[in-house]
Every structure is written in structure tokens, then in C-alpha cells.
Amino acid sequence: MTTTVTKPPADAVPAPPKRSRRPKSARAGGQLHAGPIGYAILALFTIGSLFPLVWTAIAASRDNNRLAQSPPPFWFGSGLFDKLEVAWKDANLGEAFLNTTIVAGISAVTIVVLSTIAGFAFAKLRFKGRNALMLIVIGTMMVPPQLSVIPMYMMVAKLDWTDQLQAVIFPSLVSAFGVFFMRQYLVQALPDEIIEAARVDGASSWRVVWHVVFPAARPAMAVLGMLTFVQTWNDFLWPFLVLTQMGNPTVQVAIAGLGRGYTPDQSLIMAGALLGTLPLLLVFAVFGKQIVGGIMQGAVKG
């Protein structure tokens, strides 16, 4: 009988509701085709969304003098790879990429695991104070980060953690959004019967989490992991306060440092901005569909 606990039958793991919602989404708008005006507006919006990014690359491929002429350049020059190389060195981007990957990776994995466990408790377990605690979780989303920055800075100064990665890692491990997101997912995606069945077989709560909840939550965990990674990768305020460009920067600190030099080389700044953005653009190009699905799924009950 333990085998039923360790290996829930494949069909017992529910398909993500995202997919099952499709067939019945025959809403009014969905049946009608968009007209040419609709496409035109979308095309304009697409250009608006992409133009600044493309122009970053164009500016990075020109030298600084060219950017101080009118009209501004509209097409690529020949200096892109040289500039990228210089920016890579000047902004300490090699170290920055490594650091940011470490920080965002640890933060994403921790938040996903802790949020799944907590989200499961809020979604499926009965305990005293559950609703009150959930309200507190939602309430914590409203507190601006500026309110905690000063004491945390004092702590970091006291511990002598300035320019050290752990100063950025620890505060990035809390995500009320993550708990909320996983709760919303598990309420729908995890049928009570499976938990009951595992219980009847004598599984402890931790076993239920490991063998039932984690497999069922996998799609949502992947999405939450990506969203968290993106957010931590782009985090600016706190890393900017405790890290410096030459001492363990994250990518954002490094490229912001490029912009704050006294004789700014604009095309170099653009090269740095481009390098700092490319990895995430690649992630979005590959996993865009899943990320879109995740954002939309998290939104419905928001």
C-alpha cells in the first residue's frame, strides 16, 4: 500500500487548469476575428514595445560621437562586438552575471519550495487562524520595500556585509506573492481526494507534500520560479544600496554604475544595458508562452 503513496497514479495528477480552461473559453470576443484596425493597433504596440530594445543595440553599435549628432542613427554600425567587449570589462559584467545568477537562483529555488509548502497549507489543510494568517500574507504585499531598507542597511553595516552577496540573498527569500500564487493554484489543481487517499494510507504530512503536492504543483512551481528569477535579476534598490560596481555587483548595479560615470560614453552604456537585458530576453523568447500563462493564471483570482 505504500506504493500508492510513493507513486500516485499518473492520471491522479491533475492537468493544470490553464489547459482545461481552454475549451470552455468560447467567450463573445473570442469567437470574433479581430479586424484590421485591431491588428494595426497591436502592430503599433509591438513596435513601441520592441523599439527601445532594438535601438539599444543600434546605439551600442555606434561610437559615442555618432550619438551626439542629429539625426540619431537608425541602423546598426560596425562596432557592436567591440563595444560589448569593452562594456563587459568596464562594468565588471562577468562577475555581475555570476553573482546575479547565484542570487536569483537561490532566491527562486527557496521561494518556490517555501511558497509551495505554505501555499499547500493555506489551500488544503485546516488549522486555527488560517484565514487570519492568509490575510496577513496578502497585507504584507502592500508594504513598500523602502520601509525596511534603513534597518536592513544598519544590520548589513553591523555585520560587515557591505559588498557581500549574502546581504542581497537573505532579504530576497521572502515572497508573499509566491505564497498567494501557489495557494491559488493548489486550491484548483490538487483534489482533496488524493490527499485523503494518501492520508488513509498513513502518509505523514511531509510525505504528502513530497509525493503528492510537489508533483501536482510542478507547472506552477516552474512559472513561479521563472517570475521570481526575473524579478530578482532586475531588482535595483536594495542591491544598489549594499553593493558597488567593483565589489560583487549584481547586473543592475553594474550597468547603473556605467551610467553614473563622470564622462559617460553613451554607446558603452547602451552596450552594458543590452548585455544585462539579453539573458532575460532569451528566457522570455524560449519560455514566453509559459510565463504568459503563469501571469494570466495568477491574475484571475487576484
Partner: protein, 337 residues
Amino acid sequence: MATRHDTAAPPGKEGGAAPARALPGAGPADSAKKRARLSRRWQRDVRWSPYAFVSPFFLLFIAFGLFPLLYTGWASLHQVELTAPTDMSWVGLRNYTRIFDDSFFWNAAKNTLTIGIIATVPQLLMAMGIAHILNYKLRASIFFRVVMLAPYATSIAAASLVFVLLFGRDYGMINWVLHEVGIDPVDWQNDKWWSQLAVSTIIIWRWTGYNALIYLAAMQAIPHDLYESAALDGASRWQQFFHVTLPSLRPTILFTCVVSTIGASQVFGEPLLFDATKSASGGAEHQFQTLGLYLYEQGWVNQHLGRASAIAWMMFLLLIVVGIVNYVISRRLRASH
């Protein structure tokens, strides 16, 4: 994690069935005792494990959210310098009374409000329009959805640095376009309203697509029969949008308004990096300095952490006031419907 319960694993080989419902008269007294012990363990597990599951979040939140929040309040009653953050001397409410007479603080508060409005209102309206179009049957709909997340994938730092160039007074792309259509160049750095519009543009650019997806998700969740009955009543497409779509979206609209308000109250990186003078003053005349930026200037440039703490708490109180106003307005709107 102090309370690990994996010792309460199922009995396995002993053949003890569900610990909670032991069969009467099954097995010798020895295994009955064992079963009773297991059942007690099992009950303890069911009772306490939920708390163990939610506790990591709350412990981390207390450490990095609640404690700093309260300690900021404590620090705001002291004089604390950045160079010696552990030396605190009590000054009572002086940091707050200074803020009330500080024209830079109120300037920053006003700028935060106006930038917040300029950035949020058009953003949410555009997002709504885009979502409405995306809700039609489209070719390449996934492509459009992913593309509009590209700005969201771009960091504040990268986006701000690009827009500084695009909004350049002499050689910027935007002024060049304006010039081509016969409009005089705009001083995007030094003019108060134009600079605020430029800073807001960065925010609008990054967040419109994201909000459009949220509205789209909510639109797709509207039951089809609502539209059918509206159509039977002879409602045109526009009427359907205003009488079916918008009312159904009200919770989502409220949600995006709240999130955007919170986001707008914290604006920091955009005005910091948009400033061509490389200072934290939000332009030579503080014309686009936000509260978040002013907090940074007081704390890290002027090195008064105590005063910065008082600014932080004032931000929090102002946000609560805005939140209450928001709530009252939305209740009024609901009541009028």
C-alpha cells in the same frame, strides 16, 4: 525547521492499516499499542504540520519585513548618521517636525503623486484596450502576448538608461521626430511637466503589457452566457463592453489600481537614472524627485538615516491615506451601480 515529522511514516511491513482507524481485535496487544502510538503521532502531525508549513514564510517575513518596518519607526525618532549607523541619539519627533516644514519633502510628495497619475492612468487605459483586442480571435496571438512582455523583462536600470538617450534634448530620437513633424524640441530634463512625463513614460513602457495580460485573463474568465443574453437584448458590441465586460472586470481593475498605486509610491530607479546631472536630486530644480528618491538623498547622500526613516514612515502613512481614499471611491462606485 524544528518539527520534522517524517518519523511518522506509515507502518509499512507490519501491515498496520490507516493508523487513525485501527480495526477492532486485529493482532496481539503489542501491535495495538504500537498502533495507538502511531495514531497519537499522526494526530499531532495533522494538528501541527500546517503551522510548520507556513512558519518559514512568517519567520523570514518577521526578520526582513516586520522587524525592519518597526525599527524604521524607532530609528525615525533618533539622529542616526550613515557613517555610524549604530550610534543613535534620541531626538523625539524632531525628524517629523522638520519634514513638515521641508518644502523638498512636499515637493517630492507632489511629484510622486503626479508621476503616479501620469504613469498609471494612461497605462491602465491602454492595457484595457490592448486586452480587449487580444481577446478577439487573432493570428499569432501568443507572439503578441510574449512581445508585450519584453519591456517587463527589461530592468529599470536598462530601460531608464535607454530612455535618457531617447529623450535627449539635442540629439534624442523623440525630439528629432517632433522636429520632423514641425514641433519645437522639448527640454525633457529641465522642464517640470515634460520631465515628469518622460519619467512616467519609462514606467508606462515597462508595465502596460503586463497589465494587459492581467485584464485579458480576467476577460477570458467572463462567462459566455452574459454576452449571449446581452446580445439577445440587442446590445451592440460597445454596449456589451461597457455593460458586461467592464462591470465583470471591476475586481481586477481595483486590483491593478492597488498594485499600481503601491508601485507608484515607490518609484526610485527611474528618476535616479534619468537625471543627467548624476545626482539624487531628481533634476536641478528637484522637478522630478520622488519620495523614494528623496529618501535616498537624505539617507545616503546627506547621510541622515534618522531623517530618512521619518520619510519612510511618512510615505507609509501617505500610502495608507491614498489606500483609504481608493477604497472609499470604489465603494461609492459600487453603491452607485
